[in-house]
Symmetry: C2
């Protein structure tokens, strides 16, 4: 594969590549700007093999990321919401030789021992010298990026993502959604996350325009969708909920794909989208699969409510059989990471990635995720999938959010317990839990204890962090029977 | 890669795959129908490794071709305009074990010794038995099809085309043109040619609809483009010329891509297209590159008149230097055939296919083809590219068509001679050749002899067959000076 930035710069020189921070860059300008930046990086650190970067959704950071496409350097893209100690941990694991960061994040890197430099200083410093030769070709197996899994439990793992992974991801998505060079993709999910970074690579491959937005402000996003005639928008459900209150957003006629990821979509949210005639595509992906691997298209959303969709064209999904069709979800395809920096990536003998998620496939090949394998509760010898219980609790009048885990119990082995946030902090006793839950859950699945909390712990992408549940302050407790 | 027909049948079961012969098939129906046909073929010839097929642009033939996607069989797709002896030659070269043909072509296969069967008979004969297991996966290196190069000179060569070739071709084209699942592609170029066959594979990969048309009738095509809201149409220039006379065609508002291939486009034809605001993409491809490898997009057509365009995203083109930047055109990419059945495919040490065409790249990477290497005329030690002379002759008032070759000459080594068709068969003496040609061609490039003929020899795709020029009946001869 030829260098994507240079190739696209030649094929679509005058097409707008990026609109950000009140400026825009054509693909030729993007190629030129990133080549200059790559030249500087090369001259200041000619032996650089692995770099870590911290930045926001800014033009500078976008251009920095694209400039590494000219260098044979592996890029550790750090989550900019991490604490200093978390950053130190990930730098140690990745053995990055240098950290490049945006000024805004100075505090987080202040105590690092690793050499580090502010991005802006590099861009403005020194003269360009001419003897830098950019990478002309990539091997598909060449590692481009390393991202740490969001770390909802335990030690974060550094996922290696190759150029081949990113390419397959972009093509697989295109074979589902279609794509046109005149598409305009609004990038408001974090660039440090695969959902954001993959939009940059898609743009280089497809030749479409990216509108990069720094901060998610629903009013502004709603207006931008209209004024810029945005065709593609990637969101997590909390963002969508906020946008659904924006009249400007609801009146848009330009959106062709509204990609929802990061967390499952609730039935009421889906109903709202259908009412507003929004072209919602629910997507399922992981850092380990370099973004989306399954999609639930709008036309199937009602019929297949609760499903994560079908595997994209280049992707295979199967289930390692457990009980009643439910088993471990296995994924194979050219977008699956070759492995972690630290620790083994579990794969089957025939090359399927063992995701650690549990689920089943229906007769049309739609995947239903029932939960994480390690979250499976075995209570009195019966398997209880927390997600199934959570789905019922979330529909209970008076309950806003719920998370279910197992608690060690002498009698049951594990007992099912629920952490709930109630509407307006209604006391648990005021909610008719038994009556509302009884018809939907077998006795062994019903929570034995309810803990009322102020909020559920989530990471920056809205993903529930179950490992932090037991550290929460409990406002009220309700013991069943 | 999973079986494309089955995969697409699962992903887009209810979307229309094919409209042909007053019928239509969804992708599910296409999968089911082709599985049945594959089952029959398997049971009647379980050991089949290589089959030859002859058919027209009919639904039956389309379904037959797709059914081989379920079998581990290499398919020799024969040009249906070949004579019996040409077919015999290609069957011998390919060592096909069986010929499946449409009844219409019975005469051409009547004298073959190779086992052969009429397609219709197979489809209707016998019961389905259930123990056939279709191919579930393809290796990219698995040969899918063999097509003989159109044979403008010498012995035809059987080009092996792998699943990887066809995939890369489809994706490379999509990264230039864009694609949407709701696209409707009118297939009126021959299915036996890579330009037609590639449209079938694109449809399976992209999930778009194909409208298959048996016979090219300009009036009907013009109407169909409108009524079916066709978005994509592949043509050779002679077809386009005919369509430009159809008001229904000119008034269409649905076409997004009008792909021109097979032969270079003249300036007047291009001007007509621009006037009619047609989205013309000129494409350059070969049987050896599994269709299109370069494209000249509409936006560049005027600026780069005479160019074949830029290499598609996955394709690399370079020039093996000759004089003044002109040299042999070299092509590399995952869509380049692994080789011929008979004879070596010339490749460079770094894996570039040596096309045998001569050309140059401009500073923006646009390719200009100047002719076939073997057609290069060396006259008095000077290189003369026939194409350059032909372009000048074609602009001469009174000349309709011209073909230029070298003729052995004691004094010059080779001398430049032209075969011309004049407007209304005007005698050559009545055309002021010297005055019109003089300003545009150096003396050594000017034809020494003009032969007037009734028509130039072309193959079924409109490609000039220079090897047949010397066999033509000459109506008139004009010797220069």
């Amino acid at each position: 594969m030829e260098n994507w930035v240079i190739k696209r710069g030649r094929l679509s020189p005058n097409h707008i590549a990026l609109v950000a921070d009140q400026q825009c860059w054509t693909f030729r300008e993007l190629a030129e700007t990133t080549l200059k930046l790559a030249t500087k990086i090369h001259h200041q650190a000619p032996e650089l093999k692995r770099v870590a970067v911290i930045g926001g959704n800014t033009a500078d950071f976008y251009l920095l990321l694209a400039s590494f496409h000219h260098l044979m350097v592996e890029v550790v893209i750090l989550n900019n919401r991490l604490s200093s100690s978390e950053i130190r941990q990930q730098i140690n694991i990745s053995q990055a030789e240098l950290v490049i960061y945006e000024k805004e994040f100075s505090q987080q890197v202040a105590t690092l021992e690793c050499p580090n430099v502010v991005l802006g200083d590099w861009q403005s410093s020194g003269e360009l010298t001419g003897d830098f030769v950019p990478v002309t070709h990539y091997e598909p197996s060449q590692v481009n990026t390393i991202m740490f899994t969001s770390g909802t439990t335990g030690v974060p793992k550094g996922v290696k993502q190759t150029f081949g992974n990113h390419l397959a991801s972009a093509l697989g998505s295109a074979l589902n959604l279609g794509m046109l060079p005149e598409d305009r993709w609004l990038l408001t999910v974090p660039l440090y996350h695969i959902s954001g970074y993959s939009i940059m690579n898609k743009s280089l491959l497809y030749g479409n325009t990216v509108y990069l937005v720094g901060k998610f402000e629903p009013t502004l996003i709603g207006e931008l969708v209209n004024t810029a005639q945005i065709t593609h928008l990637s969101l997590v459900p909390t963002m969508l909920t906020a946008l659904l209150k924006q009249p400007a957003f609801l009146s848009n006629r330009s959106l062709r794909c509204l990609l929802l990821g990061g967390a499952p979509m609730t039935a009421p949210l889906l109903a709202q989208c259908h009412k507003a005639d929004l072209p919602v595509i629910q997507s399922f992906g992981m850092t380990e699969t370099a973004s989306q691997v399954l999609a639930l298209n709008s036309r199937d959303a009602k019929r297949k409510q609760g499903s994560s969709g079908q595997p994209l064209f280049p992707v295979e999904v199967k289930i390692r059989e457990g009980e009643a069709g439910v088993g471990e979800i296995l994924i194979k395809g050219p977008n699956v990471s070759p492995g972690y920096l630290n620790g083994e990536m579990a794969k089957t003998a025939d090359g399927f990635f063992i995701t650690g998620d549990l689920g089943y496939l229906d007769d049309e090949g739609f995947l239903y995720v029932v939960g994480r394998k390690k979250e499976l509760i075995i209570s009195g010898g019966e398997n209880v999938y927390p997600l199934a219980v959570e789905n019922v609790l979330q529909a209970v009048v008076g309950i806003k959010e719920a998370a279910v885990i197992g608690e060690a119990d002498d009698y049951w082995g594990e007992k099912v317990v629920a952490y709930v946030v109630t509407q307006n902090n209604t006391p648990l006793k005021a909610i008719d839990l038994n009556k509302q839950i009884g018809p939907h859950l077998g006795a062994f699945k019903r929570p034995k204890v309810y803990y009322q909390v102020a909020a559920l712990p989530r990471n920056s992408l809205g993903k529930l962090q179950k490992n932090r549940l037991t550290q929460l302050t409990v406002l009220d407790t309700y013991v069943h029977e």
